[in-house]
C-alpha cells in the first residue's frame, strides 16, 4: 500500500530462509508453521516441547524486534471479524489437508525442489490472487 519495499522484502526473506536452513541443520526438521502448530494439537509427546518453543518464538518476535531497537512496522488488518473467522477456519483446515502452508511448501518445499510443494504453492497463490480479484474488484468493497 505504502509503496514498493524491495530491500526489506529481500532482507526479511533471507532471514526467513536462514531460519528454515538453521532448523534443518540443527533439528533436522522442516520449518513448516502449520505442521509444527498442527502437531501441537496431538496428545503430548516428546515433540511437544520443541513445537511449543518454536511457536513461542514466533509469537514473541515483535518484542525481540522492539528490543533490537526497531519500531514495529505498520500492520493493517482490513478483514472484519466474521471474515477473520471464516478465513482462519479455511487456512487451518486447508493447510492440514494440503500438508503445508506458505512456509512449509512455499519456502522449504520449493527450496528443496519438491514437486508437491511447487504444485501446492502454485495452487494457493493462484487461488489467493483469484480470491482478492473477486473480493476487491468484482464483488466490490
Amino acid at each position: 500500500m505504502d509503496g514498493i519495499t524491495p530491500v526489506s522484502a529481500l532482507a526479511g526473506g533471507a532471514m526467513i530462509g536462514t531460519s528454515a536452513a538453521m532448523f534443518l541443520l540443527l533439528n533436522g526438521r522442516i520449518a513448516g508453521i502449520s505442521g509444527i502448530l498442527g502437531g501441537l494439537l496431538a496428545p503430548p509427546s516428546r515433540e511437544t516441547g520443541w513445537r511449543a518453543a518454536f511457536v513461542a518464538g514466533l509469537v514473541l518476535a515483535p518484542f525481540a524486534y522492539a528490543g533490537l531497537g526497531g519500531s514495529l512496522p505498520p500492520v493493517t488488518v482490513e478483514a472484519s471479524f466474521p471474515l477473520l473467522i471464516l478465513a482462519g477456519l479455511l487456512v487451518g483446515f486447508g493447510s492440514r489437508l494440503g500438508a503445508g502452508c506458505t512456509s512449509g511448501h512455499g519456502v522449504c518445499g520449493i527450496g528443496r525442489g519438491s514437486r508437491r510443494s511447487l504444485a501446492a504453492t502454485g495452487t494457493f497463490m493462484a487461488i489467493a490472487m483469484l480470491t482478492v480479484l473477486v473480493a476487491r474488484h468484482l464483488v466490490g468493497a
Partner: protein, 148 residues
C-alpha cells in the same frame, strides 16, 4: 533441551523475518495478491530471498547427513500429486486471500494486533482440529513425515 532452545531461536528469527519483510502486514500481503489492482510486487522478493537461503541450507544439510541436534533429517519423501494436496492448497489459498493472513504471520501478530490475530488463530486451530476429525485424516496426520 538443546532442541527446544534452538526451536525457540529459530521461531524468533522466523518471526523477525516476517516483520522485516512485510509478510506480517496483511494489507501488504493483499496488495501483493491484488495483481489486477494496485499491485505491490515486493513480497515476491521475500520468496526469492527465503527460497535462495533455504535451498542452500538444504544442500548443506543433505551433504552433512546428520543434523547437529537430532539423529536424522526428517524430510517429506512423497512425490505424487494427489487430489488432497491440491484441494488443501486451494482451500488454504481461499482463506489466505480473504484475510491476507497465513499461519506464521497470524502467530507473530498475536501480540501486535491481538484481538484480530487471536480471533484468526483460534479459528485456524479449530480448522486444524476439524481436519483431525476426518476419519481418513487421522492416520496421516500422525505421520509427520508427510508434512511439508
Amino acid at each position: 533441551m538443546a532442541k527446544t532452545a534452538s526451536a525457540f531461536a529459530v521461531g524468533l528469527l522466523f518471526g523477525l523475518g516476517l516483520l522485516v519483510s512485510g509478510m506480517a502486514d496483511p494489507a501488504k500481503v493483499l496488495a501483493f495478491l491484488d495483481v489486477t489492482g494496485r499491485w505491490d510486487p515486493s513480497l515476491a522478493l521475500v520468496m526469492v530471498g527465503a527460497v535462495a537461503v533455504s535451498a542452500t541450507g538444504y544442500l548443506v544439510a543433505r551433504r552433512r547427513g546428520r543434523p547437529v541436534l537430532a539423529s536424522r533429517l526428517e524430510i517429506p519423501t512423497r512425490r505424487d500429486l494427489d487430489p488432497r494436496l491440491i484441494a488443501g492448497a486451494a482451500v488454504f489459498g481461499l482463506g489466505w486471500g480473504l484475510a491476507g493472513l497465513c499461519p506464521g504471520p497470524a502467530l507473530t501478530l498475536m501480540t501486535v494486533a491481538p484481538t484480530q490475530a487471536v480471533t484468526f488463530v483460534a479459528a485456524m486451530v479449530v480448522g486444524m482440529l476439524m481436519f483431525r476429525l476426518l476419519p481418513s485424516a487421522a492416520p496421516k496426520a500422525a505421520v509427520q513425515g508427510a508434512d511439508a
